[in-house]
C-alpha cells in the first residue's frame, strides 16, 4: 500500500437538462461514503464541465446520460479537454447501448457503466484512474 494515498477527487455532472438524475445522485452518495471527494455539478453543458474540472483539479470526470445526449455532448467534452490540454479521464454512466459504449470508448472515454453496473466497480475504476 502506498503511504501517500489521497482521496480521489471526482466531478459528477449530468449533461444537459434531462430530468433523470437519481442514478448520478446515488453514485455520488456511494462514492462519498467510500472516501471519494465529490464535486457535484448537477446539470451542465460541456464548457462548464471542463472549466470546473480544470479549476477544481479533479482526478476524474463522471458524466450521466440517460436520454441519448451522450452521442453529441460527450465527444464535445473530450474535444474541449484536448483543446485545453487537460488530461482528465472521463467515465460515462446511464442508458448507453453496448454499441454506443464501444464507440465512446474508441473516442477516449475510459469506462462506460450501463444500468445494473455494480457501484463497487465504479469505485474501483475511479481509484485506478485517480
Amino acid at each position: 500500500m502506498s503511504m501517500t494515498w489521497r482521496r480521489p477527487r471526482v466531478l459528477l455532472a449530468k449533461l444537459g437538462v434531462d430530468i433523470h438524475d437519481v442514478g448520478i445522485r446515488m453514485v455520488a452518495r456511494y462514492l462519498r461514503d467510500n472516501g471519494v471527494e465529490i464535486i457535484f455539478l448537477g446539470y451542465a453543458l460541456p464548457e462548464t464541465i471542463v472549466r470546473v474540472a480544470i479549476d477544481e483539479d479533479v482526478d476524474v470526470i463522471g458524466i450521466s446520460s440517460m436520454q441519448g445526449m451522450h452521442h453529441v455532448r460527450v465527444p464535445e467534452v473530450l474535444e474541449l479537454l484536448k483543446r485545453e490540454g487537460a488530461d482528465i479521464p472521463v467515465i460515462v454512466g446511464g442508458i448507453i447501448p453496448p454499441n454506443e459504449a464501444e464507440w465512446l470508448k474508441q473516442l477516449g472515454v475510459k469506462e462506460v457503466f450501463p444500468p445494473g453496473s455494480q457501484l463497487s466497480r465504479i469505485l474501483s475504476t475511479i481509484r485506478s484512474l485517480a
Binding site: L15, G16, V17, D18, I19, H20, D21, V22, R25, M26, A28, R29, Y30, R32, F40, G42, Y43, L45, M66, Q67, G68, M69, H71, V72, R73, I95, P97, P98, P114, P115, G116, Q118, L119, S120
Partner: protein, 567 residues
Amino acid sequence: MAPVEHGYSRDFLERLKSERERWENITLRQWIEKTGVPERDVSTTASGIPIKRVFTPEDMKDIDYFRDIGFPGEYPYTRGIYPNMYRGRMWTIRMVTGYGTPEETNRRFKFMLEHGETGLNLVLDSPSIYGYDSDDPRVRGEVGQGGSPISSLYDMETAFEDIPIDRITTSLITYFVGMPIFAMFVAMARKRGLDVSKIGGTTQNDTLMLFHVGNPPLPLEPALKLSVDLLEWCAYNMPRWYAISVCGYQLREAGATAVQEAAFTIADAMVYVEEAMRRGLTADQAARHISFFLCVHNDFFEEVAKFRAMRKVWAKLMRERYKARDPRSWLFKFHAQTSGVALTAQEPENNIVRTAYHALAAVLGGVQSLHTDAMDEALGLPTEKAARIALRTQQILFYETGVANVVDPLAGSYYVEYLTKRVEEAIWRKLDEIEAIGGMLEATRRQLPRKEISDSRYETLLKIESGEIPVVGVNIYQARGSEKPDIELLRVTLELEEKQVERVRYVKRMRNDEAVRARLEELREAARQNKNLTPYAIEAASAYATVGEIYEVFREVYGTQQALAWG
C-alpha cells in the same frame, strides 16, 4: 347471541388460535425437520410491513367488512370506485408516446390506436419540459430524445393531426410546463372549432412532485400558483379536464417505498385541494379536477394493497376533512404505469414478463388507466415492436386471463386485507407526521420528502449491490454475453433533431411577430398583477408563441430556483 369481533365470534377466534398453534408446533415443525430445508427468512414487504408465512382470519380481527371493505362503487371504495368495474368498461390503455419529432410522434399515436390503444398519453422531450425551444443551442443533442419536442402550437397540431381529441381522452405529461402545453392543447382544440368544455383529458402539472425528486426551474410558490391557476380555470371552463394529475410514479421511481409513494402523493393532493379552496372553489369543484398517477412495482400484493388503501384514505379525507358532498368527489381515480426502474438492460426480453406482473397488480388494484412499459425501457426508446408487445400485454390480460371478470377478486384474502389495513395505517401515520411539521408545503420547502426518497433509494441500491435484493439476470443468474442484448434499438439521430430545429425556425418566420410580442407582454403584465395566467397563456399559444418564450416570461417575473439537495 355469542360475542362477536368484526364478524368473527370469540369462540371461533379462540379455536383458530389454538388450531394455529397446533399447526405450527406439529405440522409445520415436522415438515421442516423432515425436509431439512431451512425456511427463508422473509419478515417484511418491500416497504417494511411485517409479514409471516401464513395469514388467517386472526389477522383480520381489526377489519370490519362494512367499515373497511364494503361494496365496490360505495364508500370507502376499497373495492373499486365503480360498482361493476371492468364488467362495465375496460380500463383505458394509455401508452406513453412521443419521440423524435411531432411527425414521428403522430405516426406512433396512429400506430398505437390502430392496435387498440384507447387513450392518448403524450410525453415531451427534456428541452420542452424545462421550457426550452428545440432550436435553443443549450439543448443540442437532447431534442426528441425522451419524448416529443413541443415548441409551439404548430408542433402540437402536428403531433395530434387527424386524431379526434374530442372523442378520445388525452394525457399530457407536462412536468414543469403544464401551463404552456395545456394552453397549446386548448388553442389547438379551439382552432379545430371544438367546444373545449366537452374535451376530456389530463395535464400532469404537479409542482410538488418536481420538488421531491426533480430539479425545478421556477421557485416553489409561483410554480404552485401556475398549477393551481390551471385547476381554477378548468373548474369554470373545462369540466372534463383533470388539471392536476398528482404523481406518485416519479417519487417511486426515484426510490420511494410503496408507503412513501402513497402518503406523499396524498399529502401533495391535499395541498392542491387546500390551495384551490383558498381561491374560493369548493372541495367538490377541486376534486373534480384532480386525479392520480401511480407506479406499479415488484412486490405484487403490497402494490394491490396500496391502491386499495389509497382509495380508502382519499375517500375519507374528501368526505370528512374537506366536507365534499358529491360522492364523485370521494373517488380516487388513478392512472398507473409499470415500473421502469424495475426493468433491466440485461436480457431485456425478461422485462416483458416483469411488466405483465406489474400490469396484473394494477388491474387487481382497480386501475382506471394503464401504461405498460416496453421491454427496451432500460436501453432506449420503445421500438414499434416493443411498444406493440407492451400494448398486447394489457389486451391479453383483459381478454384472455379472466382476471377482469370479477370485481376486486383479491378482497377477502386474509393477506391482502391485512396488507391493505397496514398500508392504510401507515399512510395515516405519515400524514400525521407531515401535518405535525406544518403540512406538505412546509415539508417540501424543507426538502424532507426529497431526502427521505433519496435515502430509501440508496438503501435499496446497497441491497441490490450486496445481493440481498435479487435481480434476475443482474445480480443472480447472469448470462454470459447478456451485456450485449440482441434486440433492435430505436435511436433519435441528429438529422431528426435538425428537422425539428428547422420546424421551430419556420414557425418563428411565418407567425405574426407583433401579435406574439403583444400576447407575451399581456402575459407578463398579468403575471405581475398575480392574475390567473391560463387565459393569457392560451392567447399567447394561439399566436404561436413558443414554450421557450412563455417560460422566459415566467423566469423573468418569478426568478429561477436554486439547485436542490442531491444527497
